[in-house]
């Protein structure tokens, strides 16, 4: 009793969990270091490469880490929005591809158009295409009662193979040789910010994250989305919410955000459409969104975390020669450590037990 009161006064409710969280991260670092050392790599150098690869200089941070984070922010927002509405959209990957196709198509089809028209046009097309790609899951959900988890997974595979066909067929570069499209018109590319590779897609993603956060929190629409996600039954019984409409809207908008991610990726980074355009952004996005607790602003941090991890891991390959397979294993370890730390913290703060 007394100890309890004392501890509460000293605020040590934070200290225990913080320590546990730190221990989790430290354990992961030690484990990774031990593994690397065993395999004959320099663990300290690897750690340094990891950090400097992500943060080494402002230019590096902007050109690599933030560029990597951008599609994860947009797809992370897509997933967060859908999950908030109780829509299990696992299909951000496919929707991203749909968006990329549309953006590239616009960027190629109107070479003479001015930038103020072409770029927004391409981005809008990307968003619309991403939204349209959800229509099959939406239709099956509403008409046949098929859950979206399976349909969106299947549509991802369909998207990937369709893109493969497009770059071998209708959208193939004019020479008809390689499986890729021609680069899009300059007017369809996102402007660069500063001297590095950072493009305007990043601030757009940040603004969208803020906007989505604000809308979810303050707008009637956002409230309806949250209510339907938290309890569709209670929302319906309140008599003020059309759950079907809310679900439909959130699904489409989620698809649009993911589509925009694809558009931004081609307009800001690759400039052409390729097979394997996405290294699984749409799947990583699920982890991003959940790590962020489905909070759009926290999605920025979670996406940044993955951006840092991947940028740093690539540097570990280049500078220390740690093979890519190690990199995946270490990424997994870091994710687990962060999750564990997060659990310790929350558990501690919420108070033990709790029914």
């Amino acid at each position: 009793m007394i100890r309890r009161a004392l501890r509460a006064r000293l605020g040590s409710r934070w200290i225990g969990p913080l320590a546990a969280g730190a221990v989790a991260l430290l354990a992961a670092a030690l484990l990774a270091a031990a593994g690397l050392a065993l395999a004959g790599y320099e663990p300290v150098a690897a750690g340094r490469a990891l950090v400097s690869g992500a943060f080494g200089s402002w230019e590096r941070f902007a050109s690599i880490t933030l560029v990597r984070a951008t599609p994860l922010i947009l797809t992370g927002l897509a997933v967060a929005l859908a999950f908030r509405a109780g829509v299990w959209n696992i299909g951000a990957e496919g929707q991203l591809y749909a968006g990329a196709v549309a953006a590239v198509w616009v960027g190629l089809a109107f070479p003479g158009a001015p930038a103020w028209l072409l770029l927004p046009g391409a981005m809008a097309a990307a968003a619309v295409a991403g939204g349209l790609w959800t229509l099959v899951p939406v239709g099956l959900k509403f008409r046949a009662g098929v859950g979206e988890v399976i349909t969106t997974i299947l549509m991802n595979f369909v998207a990937i193979h369709t893109v493969a066909w497009l770059v071998h067929g209708p959208l193939q570069e004019a020479r008809g040789v390689f499986p890729q499209t021609d680069p899009v018109a300059l007017a369809a590319r996102l402007p660069r910010l500063g001297s590095g590779r950072l493009h305007a897609g990043f601030p757009v993603a940040v603004v969208l994250a803020g906007a989505l956060w604000w809308l979810l929190r303050h707008s009637a629409w956002g409230f309806r989305v949250r209510a339907v996600g938290a309890s569709a039954r209670a929302a319906a019984v309140s008599g003020r919410i059309h759950t079907g409409r809310v679900v439909l809207g959130a699904f489409l908008l989620s698809g649009m955000l993911a589509g925009l991610a694809g558009g931004v990726e081609v307009a800001g980074v690759t400039f052409a459409l390729y097979e394997n355009l996405s290294p699984g952004y749409g799947y990583t996005a699920i982890a991003v969104a959940l790590l962020a607790g489905l909070n759009p602003v926290a999605v920025l941090l979670a996406a940044g975390f993955f951006g840092v991890l991947q940028a740093g891991a690539a540097a570990m390959q280049r500078d220390v020669g740690v093979p890519a397979v190690w990199v995946s294993a270490i990424e997994a370890l870091v994710i687990l450590a962060v999750v564990a730390a997060d659990r310790f913290l929350r558990r501690g703060v919420a108070g033990k037990g709790g029914g």
């Binding site: 099956l140 997974i153 299947l154 699920i286 190690w326 997994a332 370890l333």
Partner: protein, 310 residues
């Protein structure tokens, strides 16, 4: 299609469907207990490498299957530790398990066989024709002249069905997946049930991986699971969390994939990329025509005990 072609097509369907079935049956149990393990892919690839190494070391593919099962279980164990032990989010931990499984198997493979890998030829699981049954026309050789791991899938489906719907343990497991609170109130050990279900799923996913390496490919290659873990999760939904239907759904997906290869041979001028999309489109069409709604276990992906304040 003539008889020989039909038979070959059926054989391919079963070959492609069997590993899916093994993994999906395990996932069915796990999901029925309320745990979605998208780290299944990690257990499959772990099983493939475990199977390969086990078979190489002992020279016996049977021992390889056991080693594969152990590897799959180990990866599922890490998942269980975080997702159930620490109550962390199942999807995030599953993502890490997939990433980690692919990474660790690569690390082990490269430590054993060198950075540039090796052309591995493994002792394979022989086909065991079942006397009598394998002589049936067309379906006989396809269904009943396979490696024993395939028969394991056949046997598991009804066994798991019986377990789920006819035994006390199965009832308790379903209760844990539907209403962990109610299950707890009834004195059922929710976490223990979930951990066991996840480990069982990892065990079967490991066998699925070992089957890929030892009964299907005769080799190990990095990333050879090629997304089958995710397909298996979709197959569980297609099979409505019912082991018998899950087996059928796996074979259905196997058949759709096998048909795709036949179609490439027949329609040489249809772009092959579109044919590759065919199994997925066919599955979507099947779902559209699949009458009636199916419902996931109510507590799927919900941690227990519920996190307060979230």
């Amino acid at each position: 299609m003539d008889a020989a072609a039909l038979q070959a097509f059926l054989e391919a369907s079963v070959r492609l469907g069997a590993p899916l079935a093994l993994a999906a049956l395990g996932e069915t149990i796990s999901e029925r207990a309320g745990v979605i393990n998208i780290g299944l892919e990690g257990s499959i690839i772990g099983g493939a490498l475990g199977g390969a190494l086990g078979a190489l070391l002992t020279g016996s593919p049977g021992a390889g299957v056991l080693a594969g099962a152990a590897a799959g279980t180990a990866i599922a164990g890490v998942f269980a530790l975080f997702a159930i032990g620490l109550n962390a989010d199942q999807i995030i931990v599953g993502t890490a398990a997939t990433l980690g499984g692919l990474g660790i198997t690569g690390v082990v493979y490269q430590s054993v066989f060198g950075a540039t890998g090796t052309a591995l030829t493994l002792p394979t699981l022989p086909a065991l024709p079942l006397p009598g049954l394998s002589a049936l026309p067309a379906v006989g050789p396809a269904l009943f002249s396979q490696a024993w791991t395939t028969y394991l899938a056949y046997l598991l489906a009804p066994a798991l069905w019986y377990y789920l719907f006819r035994t006390r343990w199965g009832l308790e497991l379903r209760a844990v997946g539907e209403e962990p609170g109610a299950a707890d109130a009834a004195g059922i050990r929710v976490r223990r049930t979930r951990v066991l279900a996840v480990l069982g799923a990892g065990f079967l996913a490991g066998i699925a991986g070992a089957h890929l390496a030892l009964a299907h490919a005769g080799t190990f290659a990095e990333g050879m699971s090629a997304g089958r873990g995710f397909i298996a999760i979709a197959v569980v939904v297609l099979g409505r969390w019912n082991p018998l239907l899950v087996l059928l759904a796996s074979l259905f997906f196997g058949a759709a994939s096998a048909l795709q290869f036949e179609l490439q041979a027949v329609f040489a001028n249809v772009p092959y990329q579109l044919l590759l999309a065919f199994p997925y489109l066919l599955t979507l069409a099947a779902l559209a025509g699949w009458i009636g709604r199916s419902r996931a276990p109510a507590a799927l992906a919900r941690p227990w005990p519920p996190r307060s304040g979230e």
